[in-house]
C-alpha cells in the first residue's frame, strides 16, 4: 500500500506557526504560501490545524481556507476548534475536504457518528493527542496537550472508529517538535487496534524517522512540519512582515534547530522509495 506524506501547517491567526510539544509557537510565515509550495513540491495532502482556534475569531481561518482551496489540488484537512456540525459544514463549504476533531469528540463522542453520517466517514478525522504517563499508559489530552482527560488513548481510538471515524491522526505530544523521532509504540498499538488508516504526527527530525514509523509503527501516513518549514524558510526568507501573532524573533534571526534536519518533501519520498516503501515519488 502506498504511504502518504502529509504537510502539516499549524495556524495562529493569519500566520503559520511551529512550536515544541505543541507550545512556544514561533511564526514561520503565511500559510497559503507554504501550502502552494508544498502542493507543487509533492505533498500528498495538507493539514491545517488552527492551534488557538478557541481563543481567536475565525475569520482569518476562513480566508486562509478559501484562498488555499483555489490554489491547491490535493486533499485539504482542517482542524482546530470545530465544535459542532454547523462548524464542520462551514469549513467544508470554504473548501476543506476533511475535518479533524479532538476536543469536540472527547466532550461529545456522538458528534463522530452524526458527522460521519452527514458527511461520510472518510471526511471525519479524529485527532488523538496522547501523553505517555509514568506508569506507561497513554492518555488523551485536548487543547494542544494542555487539558487532561484521563481517557486511555487505545480505548478511545477503537471507540472513535466504531462511532464512524474514517481516519485517526495520532500525535505524541512528548515528541512533537523535538526532532527525536515519532513515538513508535503509541502509533503501532493504535494502528494494530483499528481497521482505519492511522496518520503519525510529532517528532521527525531526520529521514530515517519516516521509514521507522512506517515499518515499525505501522503508520499508514505521516505528517511533517518542522523539517519542511525550516527548509522552505531557509530558501525563501521573508522577514519583517510579521505582526503580533506570536513569537517572530525566530524567523527574523535565521536560527536553526540542532536536532531537526531540513528536508524537501521529495527528499522524504525519495528516501522512502529507495527503502522499498511505496509512495508517490516520481523520479523526474
Amino acid at each position: 500500500m502506498n504511504h502518504r506524506v502529509i504537510a502539516r501547517l499549524d495556524i495562529k491567526g493569519p500566520n503559520l506557526v511551529k512550536g515544541i510539544h505543541l507550545e512556544g509557537l514561533r511564526v514561520m510565515g503565511k500559510p497559503e504560501e507554504f501550502a502552494s509550495y508544498y502542493n507543487e513540491a509533492g505533498a500528498d495532502e495538507l493539514l491545517y490545524m488552527d492551534v488557538v482556534a478557541s481563543l481567536y475569531d475565525r475569520n482569518s481561518l476562513k480566508d486562509i481556507i478559501t484562498r488555499t482551496a483555489k490554489e491547491i489540488f490535493i486533499p485539504l484537512t482542517v482542524g482546530g476548534g470545530l465544535r459542532s456540525i454547523e462548524d464542520i459544514t462551514e469549513v467544508l463549504r470554504y473548501g476543506a475536504d476533511k475535518v479533524s476533531l479532538n476536543t469536540a469528540a472527547i466532550k461529545n463522542p456522538e458528534i463522530i457518528r452524526q458527522a460521519s453520517e452527514a458527511f461520510g466517514s472518510s471526511t471525519i478525522v479524529i485527532a488523538i493527542e496522547a501523553i505517555k504517563q509514568n506508569d506507561g499508559k497513554y492518555l488523551c489530552y485536548t487543547d494542544n496537550g494542555r487539558e487532561y482527560t484521563g481517557i486511555d488513548a487505545f480505548e478511545w481510538a477503537e471507540k472513535a472508529q466504531d462511532l464512524g471515524a474514517g481516519e485517526l491522526i495520532v500525535t505524541s505530544v512528548d515528541k512533537e517538535g523535538t526532532g527525536e523521532g515519532f513515538d513508535i509504540e503509541l502509533t503501532r498499538k493504535i494502528s494494530d487496534a483499528v481497521r482505519i488508516p492511522v496518520i503519525a504526527h510529532g517528532g521527525p527530525g531526520k529521514l530515517e524517522h519516516f521509514e521507522e514509523i512506517i515499518r515499525e509503527g505501522n503508520a499508514d501516513a505521516v505528517t511533517v512540519a518542522s523539517m519542511i518549514h525550516y527548509d522552505y524558510v531557509s530558501k525563501n526568507k521573508s522577514q519583517g512582515e510579521f505582526k503580533g501573532e506570536g513569537n517572530v524573533t525566530f524567523i527574523n534571526s535565521g536560527k536553526e534547530f540542532g536536532k531537526i534536519n531540513k528536508a524537501e518533501i521529495m527528499d522524504i519520498k525519495k528516501y522512502l522509495s529507495e527503502k522499498g516503501i511505496d509512495c508517490r515519488y516520481i523520479n523526474e
Binding site: 500500500m1 502506498n2 504511504h3 502518504r4 502542493n39 500528498d44 482551496a69 483555489k70 489540488f73 490535493i74 486533499p75 467544508l92 463549504r93 473548501g95 475536504d97 458527511f119 461520510g120 466517514s121 472518510s122 471526511t123 474514517g166 481516519e167 481497521r195 482505519i196 488508516p197 505501522n218 499508514d220 501516513a221 509512495c279 508517490r280 516520481i282
Partner: protein, 205 residues
C-alpha cells in the same frame, strides 16, 4: 462548457477550480432544464450510495440525465461515488443505480489477517487496460488520490478502462461509449488529475 451536476451532495467547487486551472470552463448546475443544452457532464458524488441516488431523484435529475447521457450520448464523467452510481446496483444500498454501465458495486472484503485498511485512502496507481481519451501514455506511472470502501465490478471486460491494486486488482476506471467513470478523485490528484480533466475537456462533443 462542462456542467457539474449539483444534487445537494458534496463540495463541487474543487472540481470547478481545477477545470479553471487547466483552462476549461464549467458551471455548477442545479436546474435540470439546462441539460437540454449540455455539451459535457460531470457527475460527482460523496457519501452513501442510497442517499445520493435518492437526492438525484428528489431533485428530478434521474430521467433527464439518462436521456441526455444514454440517448443523446453527451460525454459524461462520474467521479468516485459518481462512478459507482453509473452501475446497476451496490452492496452499500438497496436502491438501483443508474444502470448505464453493466456492473455492480461491492465492498472491499479482505481475509482476516491481512492488514489492509478500509477505506482505501491515498495515492495509488492506475494501470490502463485499453486505449482511451482520458489517460494517455499507458506505459507511464499514473497515480491518483483514492478514498473509498466500495469498488466497481464490471460484467463486460471491455468496459474496464483501468485497474488498481489494493489487496485485489479492482476496476478503478470505466468507459463505455460516451460514459466515463473514475473511482479516484482527479480534482485532488494534482498533475495527474489535471491531465485527465484536460483530456476530458478535449474530447470532441
Amino acid at each position: 462548457m462542462i456542467y457539474i451536476i449539483n444534487y445537494g451532495v458534496g463540495n463541487l467547487n474543487s472540481i470547478s477550480n481545477i477545470i479553471k486551472k487547466v483552462g476549461g470552463e464549467s458551471e455548477i448546475i442545479s436546474d435540470v432544464s439546462l441539460l437540454k443544452q449540455a455539451k459535457k457532464i460531470i457527475l460527482p458524488g460523496v457519501g452513501a450510495f442510497d442517499h445520493a441516488m435518492k437526492k438525484l431523484a428528489e431533485h428530478g435529475w434521474t430521467e433527464e440525465l439518462t436521456d441526455t447521457v444514454v440517448n443523446r450520448k453527451i460525454p459524461t464523467l462520474g467521479i468516485c461515488l459518481g462512478m459507482q452510481m453509473l452501475c446497476k446496483k451496490s452492496e452499500e444500498g438497496v436502491l438501483p443505480g443508474l444502470g448505464w454501465i453493466d456492473a455492480e458495486v461491492k465492498k472491499f472484503n479482505f481475509p482476516e489477517g491481512t492488514n489492509l485498511k478500509v477505506p482505501h485512502m491515498g495515492w495509488n496507481q492506475v494501470h490502463v487496460k485499453k486505449e482511451n481519451p482520458l489517460i494517455k501514455n499507458p506505459e507511464e506511472e499514473h497515480r491518483f488520490y483514492f478514498v473509498h470502501s466500495y469498488h466497481v465490478v464490471c460484467k463486460n471486460e471491455a468496459d474496464i478502462l483501468g485497474t488498481t491494486n489494493y489487496g485485489i486488482e479492482f476496476t478503478s476506471s470505466v468507459s463505455h461509449d460516451n460514459i466515463y467513470g473514475a473511482q479516484f478523485h482527479p480534482e485532488k490528484s494534482h498533475r495527474f488529475g489535471m491531465e485527465l480533466l484536460k483530456n476530458f475537456i478535449d474530447i470532441p462533443c
